[in-house]
C-alpha cells in the first residue's frame, strides 16, 4: 500500500470521531438554529428569527451576566490561589508530597455530588451557620436564599473544587523551569519578587494561558453545581447560561431556539479565547 494511503488509514478513526462528535453536531446545530423546530411540532425555516428573539430574551442576558460574573470571579481566584500554592509547594516545604496529594482530592469529587453536599453544609441550620453561631453571630447569612449572596456561595464551591486543577498544571510548569536561570539571578542578587516578575511569570505565561483557557471555557458552561445547589434560584439570580439552554431544549423542546442560543454561546467563547491569546503576542513583559 502506498505510504499516503497508509497514513490516511491510520488517521481514519480519529477523523471519523472528529466528524461524528464535533463537526456534524456543530453544523447541525447551526443549521437548525435557522428553523422554528419544536419537538412534536412542525419544522419551518424562519430566516434567523431565533437570533432576533434571543437578543430580546431577558433570560439570555441574565444568563450571560450570571455566567460572566461567575467566570471572572472564580477563575481569577482559582488562578491566584493555584499559582500561590504551586509556588509554595514547589519549594522545599516539609510534608510537601502529602500536601500536594491533599490538594488534589477535590479533583476526584463528582460535581453534582459536591453540589448536594454543600447544600447541606450551607443550609440555614447547617454546620457553617452553626460555626458562626459559636463565634457569636446572631443574624445568620442566608447562603442559598439571599440573591445577593447565593452566586458567591456557589463560587466558593467551585473554587474549592477547581483550584486543584490550576495548582496541578502550574506546579508541573514550575517544576519544568530551568534551574540555571535562577542560579544566575541569585548570583546577580535578584530579589524573590524580581525573579518572579522577570523569570517565572514570563516563562509560565504560555502554560497560564492554556490553564486559563481551559478554566474559562469550563466555568462559563458550568451546569452541575448550580443544579445541585440552587436550580437557578432565588429567582433567576443563579440561572447560568447553560441552565437556560437546558430548559429551552428539554422543557420547552424548542430545539431551533436552543440551537441559536448555543451558537451565540460559541461565538462569545471564540471571541473571549481569542482576546486571551492576544497576550501571547506580547513580546515584552
Amino acid at each position: 500500500m502506498r505510504p499516503e494511503r497508509t497514513k490516511l488509514l491510520y488517521l481514519a478513526p480519529a477523523l471519523a470521531w472528529i466528524f461524528a462528535m464535533i463537526l456534524f453536531p456543530l453544523f447541525y446545530t447551526i443549521g437548525i438554529s435557522f428553523f422554528d423546530y419544536t419537538l412534536g411540532g412542525e419544522t419551518e425555516f424562519n430566516y434567523g428569527l431565533n437570533y432576533l428573539t434571543a437578543v430580546q430574551d431577558y433570560r439570555l442576558w441574565n444568563g450571560l451576566k450570571v455566567s460572566g460574573v461567575f467566570t471572572v470571579v472564580v477563575v481569577s481566584i482559582e488562578f491566584l490561589l493555584g499559582l500561590g500554592l504551586a509556588l509554595l509547594l514547589s519549594g522545599r516545604v516539609r510534608g510537601r508530597r502529602t500536601l500536594r496529594l491533599i490538594m488534589l482530592i477535590p479533583l476526584f469529587a463528582c460535581p453534582i455530588a459536591v453540589g448536594y453536599l454543600y447544600l447541606m453544609i450551607f443550609h440555614q441550620r447547617g454546620p457553617v451557620n452553626a460555626f458562626l453561631g459559636l463565634l457569636g453571630f446572631v443574624e445568620m447569612p442566608n447562603w442559598l436564599g439571599d440573591p445577593s449572596l447565593t452566586l458567591f456561595t456557589v463560587g466558593f464551591v467551585d473554587i474549592w473544587g477547581w483550584t486543584s486543577f490550576m495548582f496541578l498544571i502550574l506546579l508541573a510548569a514550575i517544576e519544568s523551569l530551568p534551574v540555571e536561570l535562577y542560579e544566575a539571578a541569585q548570583i546577580d542578587g535578584a530579589s524573590g519578587w524580581l525573579k518572579f516578575r522577570k523569570l517565572t511569570f514570563p516563562m509560565l505565561l504560555p502554560t497560564i494561558l492554556i490553564a486559563l483557557t481551559l478554566r474559562i471555557t469550563d466555568a462559563f458552561k458550568i451546569f452541575d453545581i448550580f443544579v445541585g445547589l440552587t436550580k437557578g434560584g432565588p429567582g433567576i439570580s443563579t440561572e447560568v447560561y447553560s441552565m437556560y439552554v437546558y430548559r429551552v431544549t428539554l422543557e420547552y423542546f424548542k430545539f431551533g431556539y436552543s440551537g441559536a442560543l448555543s451558537v451565540i454561546f460559541l461565538l462569545i467563547m471564540m471571541v473571549a479565547i481569542n482576546v486571551l491569546f492576544l497576550f501571547r503576542r506580547l513580546r515584552k513583559w
Partner: protein, 609 residues
C-alpha cells in the same frame, strides 16, 4: 521497508499491527455479543401464588358493601390482596414498564405501584417494572419517549396538568373501551366485557369521585385514567397553639378582634386581607406568645419559594380568592382565571393579581423562615410536620403524614380548613374592586392529581389498564389512601366521613391516624373542595409545562425581591402571550374553553349530594 527488526524470527511492524487490529476487532465483537445477549429479558415467572379470597363474594353493583362502610368490613378485607375472583389473565411473558415519580418503594405516588404490583402479578401472570424519575425530569422523559417514538415506557404516572400536550399529539390512548357501557352508573354490568376480557370494576355506585377530579381523568368524552390521587391545597394549623385561649386573648388585645379557625365552630370565617396577615404576623413573633405548644413553634408559615416544584401555587390560591368571582355559569368573568377565554389574553397581570402578589410579598413571605427561599416541597411539609410552623397551606399530604410518627411530631395537633377567603375582590368586567360583607372563598383542585395514563406505543395497553383499575378498585384504593406514605389524597365518596361520605373513622385509626386528626382532615378537605361557591381551575392546555415554568420563574423573582410584583406579572403576561402565539392562538382558545367547560353551568361537583 519498515520493520521492527531485521532479525530472523521477529515479526515486522505491519504484521504486528495487523494481528493486533484483528485481535481487537474479535474481542470487541465478542464483548458486544455478550452484552446484547445479556440484555435479553428473562422469562417472567410469577413467584408468588394468589391468595384465595375468603370473606367477600361479588354480588353486583347494587350490593351495599362495595366500599367498606364499617370498620369490621374494612378489617376483614385488610389482609386479602384482592377480595374477589379476578379473571383477567395476561398473555405469557407480559411485562409493563411504568415511569413514576422518584420517591421510592414507600414514597409518595411511587410507593403504591411497588406495593400493589406483586399481588397483581400473582393474579394475572404479568409483571410490572417501575422506573423512578425525578419530578424535574418527569415531563421531559415522558414527552421525549412518546414524541420520538422510543416507546420505552408502557405507561406513565402523570400529573393532570400535562394532558394538553399528551392529548394534542395523540400520545396517550383512551381507556373508554375497557370501561364498558353504563360505566358511571354501573346499573347493569359488573365488569367491562367490551374487549372480551374482564377487568376489576373500580367505579360502581357508592365509590364516586367528585366531578372536578373526575374531569382530570378525561378529555372531552373520553376517559384516559383511573382514579388515583385527588389533589388540592388545604389550610393547616397547629390547633393546640392557634386555639389556645391565652394566645387568642393576647391577639384580641393587640389587634382588637378575635378569630375562629375550626370549621365546626361558629363564626369561623377567615380572610387574607388583612385578618390572616395579622394572625401570621402575630404567630411569627414566637417569643411573645404566651403558649408555643409542644413542640414549640418557631415561625408562622411553612411554604416554599424555590424554583422547580410548584412553589407558585402558594400564591395562586391567594390570588384566586381575590380574583375569581362566583356565577351560575363558567363565563368570561365568572369562575374564570388565568386567561380571557375569548381571546386567550392573559389576565394574570390585572390589578387584582398584582395586588395579591404585593400582599404575598409584603405580608406573607416575611412570616416564613429565611431558608424557605431555597425550600422545595418536602421541606415545606417538614416545616409543619416537625412542629416548627404554626400554619401551612399545602397539598393533602400533610394531613395524611401528620399521624405517622416516623415523619410527624404533631400527631393529634393538626387542624385543617378551607383556604382563607378575601374581603375585597377585583371585578375584571367592571375594572374595579368590590368590598364584600362576607369573604369570597374559592375551592381549588390545585396539584398534580397523579394517575396512570397509557402510552400509544405500549404493546400491552390492556395490561396497563388492568393494573391501574386494580389500584383504583375501592377496597385497594381506600387502603392506599388511608396509608400516610401513599401520596394519594382523598376525593372519593368512601374517603370522607359521614355525613359527607361513607367511611368509618375507625378504619383510619386502624391505619395509625389520630381520630381527631382524621375527622379534622376529612372535614377540612371536604370544605376545601365543596363549601365555596366557586372554584379555581387547573389548566390542562398544550404548552402547560412552559406556562408553569415561566410562572415559576417570575413568581420566584418577585419572592426573592429581584423584581417588583407588577414587573413580574407584566413580564409573565408577555411570556405567556409569546407561548400562545407560538403554539397558535386559535387552537389555544379552543383547548382552554374545552378544558374549563366554557359556557356550562357551574357545578359544586358532588355527584352524590
Amino acid at each position: 521497508m519498515n520493520t521492527l527488526s531485521s532479525e530472523k524470527g521477529r515479526m515486522d511492524r505491519r504484521r504486528f499491527v495487523t494481528y493486533l487490529g484483528a485481535g481487537a476487532i474479535v474481542v470487541a465483537a465478542a464483548a458486544a455479543g455478550g452484552y446484547y445477549a445479556g440484555q435479553r429479558p428473562p422469562t417472567v415467572t410469577p413467584t408468588t401464588t394468589a391468595v384465595a379470597p375468603t370473606t367477600v363474594t361479588v354480588v353486583g353493583p347494587t350490593a351495599p358493601t362495595w366500599a367498606p362502610t364499617t370498620f369490621e368490613g374494612y378489617k376483614n378485607l385488610y389482609d386479602v390482596p384482592v377480595p374477589m375472583p379476578y379473571p383477567y389473565k395476561a398473555p405469557p411473558g407480559t411485562n409493563i414498564t411504568i415511569a413514576v415519580l422518584a420517591a421510592g418503594t414507600r414514597g409518595v405516588i411511587s410507593g403504591p405501584i411497588y406495593y400493589m404490583r406483586d399481588s397483581w402479578s400473582a393474579m394475572t401472570g404479568a409483571t410490572v417494572t417501575a422506573v423512578d424519575i425525578a419530578f424535574s425530569d418527569l415531563f421531559t422523559k415522558f414527552f421525549t419517549d412518546v414524541v420520538t417514538g422510543a416507546g420505552k415506557f408502557d405507561a406513565f404516572i402523570t400529573g393532570g396538568n400535562w394532558y394538553g400536550d399528551l392529548i394534542k399529539g395523540g400520545y396517550i390512548v383512551p381507556i373508554t373501551d375497557y370501561l364498558g357501557p353504563d360505566f358511571h352508573t354501573m346499573k347493569t354490568v359488573s365488569r367491562s366485557t367490551n374487549t372480551g376480557n374482564n377487568h376489576v370494576q373500580w367505579y360502581p355506585p357508592g365509590t364516586e369521585s367528585d366531578l372536578r377530579h373526575e374531569e382530570l381523568l378525561k378529555w372531552g368524552k373520553d376517559w384516559y385514567g383511573c382514579a388515583m390521587d385527588q389533589d388540592g391545597i388545604m389550610f393547616y394549623y397547629r390547633k393546640d397553639v392557634v386555639n389556645n385561649e391565652d394566645n387568642k386573648k393576647k391577639f384580641e388585645k393587640e389587634y382588637g378582634y378575635t378569630y375562629e379557625m375550626d370549621v365546626n365552630k361558629p363564626n369561623n370565617d377567615i380572610w387574607w386581607d388583612n385578618q390572616m396577615a395579622d394572625i401570621l404576623q402575630f404567630y411569627n413573633n414566637v417569643h411573645d406568645l404566651p403558649f408555643r405548644g409542644n413542640p414549640p413553634v418557631q415561625y408562622a408559615s411553612s411554604i416554599s419559594f424555590a424554583r422547580g416544584f410548584l412553589s407558585w401555587m402558594y400564591w395562586i390560591v391567594l390570588a384566586g380568592v381575590m380574583n375569581v368571582i362566583p356565577g351560575p355559569t363558567v363565563d368570561r368573568y365568572h369562575n374564570m382565571f388565568f386567561w380571557d377565554p375569548e381571546t386567550m389574553e392573559p389576565t394574570i397581570n390585572n390589578e387584582g393579581c398584582v395586588k395579591s402578589l404585593e400582599f404575598y410579598v409584603d405580608k406573607i413571605i416575611p412570616t416564613a423562615p429565611k431558608e424557605a427561599m431555597g425550600w422545595l416541597l418536602g421541606e415545606s411539609f417538614d416545616g409543619m410536620l416537625s412542629g416548627n410552623a404554626a400554619f401551612s397551606w399545602n397539598f393533602g399530604d400533610i394531613g395524611r403524614m401528620a399521624s405517622d410518627p416516623s415523619t410527624s411530631k404533631i400527631k393529634g395537633k393538626v387542624g385543617v380548613r378551607l383556604m382563607p377567603g378575601a374581603m375585597n375582590i377585583y371585578d375584571r368586567e367592571k375594572g374595579q374592586w368590590s368590598k364584600l360583607d362576607t369573604p369570597n372563598y374559592v375551592a381549588n383542585i390545585m396539584g398534580c392529581s397523579w394517575h396512570g395514563v397509557i402510552s400509544k406505543f405500549s404493546k400491552n395497553p390492556e395490561a396497563c389498564y388492568d393494573f391501574f383499575s386494580y389500584i383504583a378498585y375501592p377496597y385497594n384504593h381506600f387502603r392506599l389512601k388511608a396509608k400516610g406514605w401513599s401520596g394519594y389524597d382523598p376525593g372519593r365518596k368512601f374517603d370522607f366521613l359521614p355525613p359527607n361520605g361513607t367511611a368509618d373513622v375507625q378504619a383510619y385509626v386502624y391505619e395509625g391516624w389520630d381520630e381527631g386528626d382524621a375527622k379534622a382532615y376529612m372535614e377540612g378537605v371536604w370544605e376545601c373542595y365543596y363549601a365555596p361557591k366557586t372554584y379555581q381551575i387547573f389548566p390542562r392546555i398544550p404548552g402547560m409545562r412552559r406556562f408553569e415554568e415561566t410562572m415559576d420563574v417570575r413568581i420566584a423573582m418577585a419572592a426573592a425581591g429581584t423584581s417588583s410584583p407588577k414587573d413580574s406579572l407584566d413580564g409573565l403576561a408577555k411570556d405567556w402571550n409569546a407561548i400562545i402565539d407560538d403554539i397558535g392562538r386559535t387552537d389555544m382558545i379552543k383547548a382552554f374553553q374545552t378544558d374549563v367547560g366554557y359556557g356550562k353551568p357551574y357545578t359544586k361537583g358532588i355527584p352524590w349530594a
